[in-house]
Symmetry: C2
Subunit: 518 residues, 2 copies
């Protein structure tokens, strides 16, 4: 006999407490009042019994959530009879945790009673992809720890498995790195806008016990100007004007990849960040490097001349060196797709590519036999559509215009343009929030409920369970998805997450009646 892991006990307690405090009523006209007689006459459940049915070692939810991505076990079966005991069975505590998330969201409130519909219910469930993620940029603007914890809770309710933490960027470096306190001391916007080692530990532990792995991204060699606030010696073209010539965003600045001292410094920083992690994955970033930044940097020119190599070679060496730190620590390295497709840097087959510029890039990555995650700007970017934020592009659009509606995200096919042999290369995907125009104030409203769409797409797979297109306009397709998403939105609000309304409530209560042809 093994004792039950504490984080599973805690999860059960949270489910019980959530079930009691939820006040969500059915989204139908009358909010379930028509169920009143049936509810009063209904049979009742005594208990939900959880059990593990395999010989798998019993480990905590946190441990199961951070094993290597290919060996996670998230499947579960849930049997809810009309009376008596409901049963939740899984191969792992993580599977049980996923089943709990389903169980607690089957219930409705009516006059203080809790009830569910259509018992007996039999659910056998497992994800199509193990990697279902939210990527948060905490550098352009800062998010307090509580915001991240609240987001993790909501992510766990929709069974997301990863928080991809784009922690630093050119504008600020809010991460306290052990041994390198100067990075945040000089790189964070303020002492208050910083994640201490304790904060990071709290966030990771909070995530892991909620079935969520935390993949840190230290973006290199671009998007690193803020490193230079403490270490100007490691940053080329820092603050150089006009920034638009040297970087995709102000302020300009990139790591001096040709400098041996810089490479060694960056390796030590990565080595230190690894000590804070529980994940087997980490991203070295790599998007949007800018060649003129280096080509006009005298220190870089000197080294290249002395060694008689081109900047491309220096970039290759840099990537190999940084990824080497990860590999030496048995960490799977992630890298941005443009490093491979545009700069053709050498990566080994254990590397995972982040496909971000366009969904069309996935095929090129797959051709190289690399595993990858989908983060296409043309489907999944949460921040698009609010105009340009530079000071004087006064009537400009955001670069990834227009706004990505939930429907747009929901129409995404993870297998598009891939051969069946390439399907196993897809680990899953993520929706990112880039924070140039976001901050604590609008975090919930810009993220929710759209993020739940990615959670569903990567849990469900290429199509609906019956093989039809997700957006087929019928009761099992787009209309059912809209109802599902509306319900999730109201459940989130009920639990204190300020998810936006997707429709007038009149429509929410009448699925399909606001279809354009209804």
């Amino acid at each position: 006999m093994h004792s039950t892991p504490q984080d599973l006990l805690d999860a059960v307690a949270r489910s019980e407490s959530g079930l009691k405090s939820d006040s969500f009523e059915r989204l139908v006209v009358g909010r379930g009042s028509a169920d009143s007689t049936a509810v009063h006459r209904a049979l009742s459940l005594d208990a939900l019994v959880l059990s593990l049915d395999s010989g798998r070692l019993i480990r905590s939810v946190a441990d199961e959530a951070t094993v290597s991505i290919a060996s996670r076990s998230e499947s579960y079966t849930l049997s809810i009879p009309a009376r008596g005991q409901a049963r939740l069975v899984a191969n792992s505590t993580l599977g049980l945790f996923r089943g709990l998330a389903t169980f607690e969201q089957l219930w409705y409130t009516l006059d203080g009673d809790k009830y569910l519909l259509n018992a007996p219910i039999e659910i056998a469930d497992e994800p199509a992809f193990p990697y279902r993620s939210f990527s948060l940029d905490t550098a352009r603007n800062f998010y307090p720890v509580d915001d991240i914890l609240r987001t993790l809770d909501a992510m766990s309710w929709v069974k997301m498995s990863v928080l991809y933490w784009h922690v630093a960027d050119s504008q600020s470096f809010p991460l306290e790195v052990p041994g390198f306190p100067e990075l945040a001391a000089k790189g964070a916007y303020s002492k208050e806008e910083m994640y201490s080692v304790n904060d990071v530990e709290l966030i990771i532990q909070y995530a892991n016990t909620r079935g969520i792995d935390v993949v840190m991204e230290l973006d290199t060699p671009g998007h690193t100007t803020a490193v230079g606030f403490a270490h100007p010696e490691h940053v080329a073209c820092a603050g150089k004007s006009p920034w638009a010539k040297y970087a995709n965003e102000p302020p300009a600045g990139q790591l001096r990849i040709a400098s041996n001292a810089t490479v060694e410094f960056v390796k030590r920083v990565f080595q230190s960040v690894l000590t804070m992690m529980t994940s087997t994955m980490m991203s070295t970033g790599g998007d949007e490097v800018n060649l003129p930044c280096w080509e006009e940097d005298e220190e870089t020119i000197d080294v290249l001349n002395k060694r008689n190599i081109a900047i491309g070679e220096a970039l290759n060496e840099f990537v190999v060196a940084i990824q080497g730190v990860l590999k030496a620590n048995k960490i799977t390295p992630f890298i941005k797709g443009d490093m491979i497709l545009t700069h053709n840097v050498p990566v080994t087959n254990d590397t995972v590519a982040v496909v971000w510029q366009s969904s069309a890039d996935a095929a090129g990555i797959a051709e190289r036999g690399l595993r990858f995650i989908h983060q296409p700007s043309n489907y999944f970017y949460l921040d698009c559509g609010a105009g340009d934020w530079v000071g004087n592009n006064i009537l400009g659009n955001s670069w990834c215009d227009p706004f990505k509606t939930w429907q747009r995200a929901y129409s995404f096919d993870p297998y598009a343009n891939l051969t069946e042999a390439q399907f196993p290369l897809v680990l899953g995907g993520q929706m990112p929030l880039w924070s140039e125009q976001s901050s604590s104030e609008n975090l919930d409203s810009i993220v929710w409920p759209r993020l739940a769409v990615a959670a569903e797409v990567f849990w469900t797979g290429g199509t609906l369970p019956d093989g039809t297109s997700r957006l087929a306009n019928n009761v099992t397709g787009g209309r059912a998805a809209f109802s599902r998403l509306n319900e999730l939105r109201y459940r989130l609000v009920d639990r204190g997450v300020k998810a936006i309304a997707l429709q007038p409530k009149w429509c929410v209560l009448r699925p399909g009646e606001c279809d354009v042809d209804a």
Copy 2:
């Protein structure tokens, strides 16, 4: 001697309390720490002395905020010496209230001290237009009273003068109307999503004492399906399918304008709503009427046939009858521009038109010699750009796409396409929030700080005070505006209003350095 009105005393107390609790630091690198020595050596102010300098009867702020729009007095002068007493002088308590709003936002915090820059300061200020408004739709989705009160506070900080309350629409009727309790009882989404008579009184009183007039809009004859939830006899084509043939939004339904009983009913409802108001203005709406709705309504056809009139004549009679109720009560009637430009309904010269479809419509209204307010969808709609919300227009845009950036709104010229003789017809303007995709959860983030742009445009006029274009890319033009708006955004957040970030904080602290050519 007159005693000081209580609401002015209350306003002074709020300013004092706000000054003490504000923790806003200068938006410069170092957040004002470079001012430390100067602040410690600075002279100090003893007091702010308020005085009225005219023979105008001393009335409360609330009374001054609700006198007829043409006779409001909002000018003030503010003299702040380097030491001693600051002086705020106005012709009315409303002018003093506007001056207080300026005074309390001149201050910065540094290590607990409060300081301002560049004293002595002399400000002589008055608005270009008396009508500076926010229009809120509380029908598509509901907003709790506290949301409205918080919004009114923030509006008062940017000296807005009107809340235009689009209280009901086809989806819900949340207003308790004395004598017609069934309208909200059956028309509100729920008992909790309703504005009681007491709520309305509280909101209006809260607004008025903050220098804000509340203009109620009961939209007629379209946008009235929810009236039929209690009174089906008064609504044609209610819920008729496909809705898109009979209305711009689901559910279809319009008042039976040709029915004498309906006209009398609507007149009594308006008469009752008037009893709740303190304003001299009210809107009868009038946008987006749909002819097929009436043309296929048997009861309407019968009346038209019996009287041998066309639907256009019935519409004319309806508008004259409803506006007649307002005029009999000395209330200035507002009407939507399309009633005049498209349907050519007869209105008298005291009518104020709401120009909403396009900024280009203003000229046509001015040609008819009517006063009007600007609410152009192509500049000021706060809700655009988030995709379509009908169930199955899956990749569609919002009808007023794209998102209206603050810069777009700021580029608006209230005098465009008008002759100088027509300038006095412009009362001002308003930004509306239509709530199909908004609710309590995102109210602050979708409204602020963009609403402050309308506040500035209609306070300042056609150009900057020096006559140059608002968006001229120089330190007094767009760059200064961006700094001003960033500062306001951080002040709002400091006071608990969740205004969105417009830029990475790195840019906010370095005005101009994120310009595209910087």
